[in-house]
């Protein structure tokens, strides 16, 4: 880095902020609706379905059965997951006849790239969701790499209903993000989309073509 460049920029900035008032009023807080669990699930579902996400609200014990149906209906032949995650263990133990379709993302991308780029689907956990914006919160980590939710054509996300927040601001505050930001935090609201050609909405341009959310209530 050129230290002179930095010094000159900062000298100009320091001098600039001395000129005149900025007329600042201390920013308030965004208004967050007060919702109960059912309302949060309904609002999240409504907002996410509006952007073509498929949302299934299921009983905690039954999510594997729903997943099996999805694998069958969508003809999924390879499902990437993060071993060692809470859902990873359940998948390994309970997927029955579909177990052979599971692919562990258990090594560095440099050795896994060709596999994930060929996979049909990926399944991830979520840290929560923001109901008023209709988005899932993902914090990928060493057990659950970032590309599972991006590269395969279908992304399946598992969300516990108790982790749905009324809004993004509320999640940031209550989960105390500022104290422990991960390598990459993500909000995901739907399948990849674009409207760059005559504003016509088209899905799956670079990321997943489908986003399926299993809300465990």
């Amino acid at each position: 880095m050129n230290d002179n460049t930095r010094t000159r920029i900062f000298a100009r900035l320091e001098s600039a902020v001395q000129h005149g008032s900025f007329n600042i009023s201390e920013p308030g807080k965004p208004e967050i609706p007060d919702l109960d669990k059912k309302q949060k699930i309904d609002l999240l579902k409504k907002n996410m379905e509006a952007v073509r996400t498929q949302v299934h609200v299921v009983e905690k014990e039954k999510w594997i059965d729903i997943l099996k149906n999805i694998i069958k209906d969508k003809n999924i032949n390879s499902l990437v997951y993060g071993p060692g995650t809470e859902i990873g263990t359940v998948l390994e133990q309970s997927l029955g006849e579909y177990r052979e379709k599971l692919i562990k993302y258990d090594r560095d991308i440099e050795d896994f790239k060709s596999i994930i780029f060929e996979s049909d689907a990926g399944i991830t956990t979520t840290l929560g969701a923001a109901a008023d914006t209709g988005a899932l919160i993902l914090w990928p980590d060493e057990k659950e790499p970032r590309l599972i939710s991006l590269v395969p054509s279908i992304h399946i996300a598992v969300l516990k209903a108790e982790n749905i927040y009324a809004g993004f601001s509320q999640a940031v505050e209550k989960q105390r993000w500022a104290e422990k930001m991960p390598t990459n935090a993500l909000l995901i609201s739907g399948p990849s989309k674009t409207a760059d050609i005559e504003l016509t909405l088209a899905f799956g341009v670079h990321g997943p073509k489908e986003l399926i959310v299993l809300v465990l209530d």
């Binding site: 902020v17 900025f22 201390e26 991006l150 930001m181 390598t183 909000l187």
Partner: protein, 473 residues
Amino acid sequence: MENKKFNFKENTAQALLDSRLRKNLKFAMGAMIQKRRAVFSNAQELEKLRVLGNSIRRRALSKLPELLEKLENKCTENGIIVHWAETTNQACEIVLEIMQKHKADKLVKGKSMVSEEMHLNKFLEQHGIEAIETDLGEFIIQLAGETPSHIIVPAIHKNKDEISKLFHEKIPGTPYTEEVEELNAIARKTLRKMFYEGHVGLSGVNMAAAETGTLCLVENEGNGRMCTTVPPVHIAVMGLEKVVEKLEDIPPLIRLLTGSATGQLITTYVNMITSPRKAGEKDGPKEIHLVILDNGRSKILADPQLRQTLQCIRCGTCLNHCPVYTRIGGHAYGFVYPGPIGKILTPQMEGLEKAGAMTTASSLCNACEEVCPVKIPIPELIRRLRNESYDLNGTVQGHGYKKHFMETAAWKAWELVNRIPALNAASTKMAGLFGHMLPKAGPLKEWTHTRTKPVFAQKSLHETVKEQGVAHE
């Protein structure tokens, strides 16, 4: 485009003759306005959010040196390498150096207006490096050899037929199709290969939180995530005004940004990057560089009125609502940032003598100010820059470039006529008697090209009222 002398008048005339462009823009801008209106249906709620957005941005600007230093420290602590660039050329050199260090000859790029400001693709090309635009809109215009015409929807000036032809001609082995889904599939296939092979990915930064050293990126396609996750090296470029103080400032700003830009509650992806790949993590870049660009911004900050320009969050909604932009499109403006925000940003960056003509393209109808999510008084700043164009004692680079003898003399005469009652009476009389004889020459000829020549009354209003009184009080 900046290499040629900027002739706004000619550009505008050309654009207005292009009926297909006008049709494309009329449809697109109408649709964008509707979508924004739908997402911000509660006017009171929107107003509160705008006030909040305005305070967040003002507070950040008031502490800019402190916040940038904090951002730099936090990023460095998190393992991100921070670079500073005073000029666009310096910023390009930094990117080139990183590419060369990694012996990389291909760059996969997410959408970034700052990289457009840097003319990065052209610079890299001159050094044997290919920059591949991966945002669909940017990909389209790169194939066409053009520049973006809109901040958010770069290929908005093109319709489906034009894009179909372009894909067919420029992407080897591509059959002609007008199906949007198929065109997307073609782009997906072509660009997936690039993501797979890319060694270095580049992105912009929508906002950066100083508190945690987090770079925030919003997008719908997933190409931004691809560029910042698949290649082993990620370079982020940002203008130095993009920093905010706290992480909690990000959610309301994103709400304002996505709602204003595309009428969405939120984009498909909000990508918040705080560090390169940590030990044990299996993907993500091993190296992240952040290039922070000044390019005149620190000078803009020094002016208490004009610094409001830097509050901009680049949502592009002022373009969508501008009656001038909607008729001439982005290319006519001749510089990277078009529309109302371009009119106030570009002349300050490039100098009034080069880009000041942009400020004339406004009827000061206030539409841009009414929709601006962070309440930038754009018309007020346009007026300021127009005044600076004639002011030899101004402060903006290139001030006073329009001042010339005839103009000064005309206004001096105007002042005298309005200050001295006898002169006023005489000139009113003269206008009534000889006004019809004014030849259509010089400025009057130009003015009457699209307007009817005014006819002066034989008697002044004062005289008429004196004689007849006021009939309808």
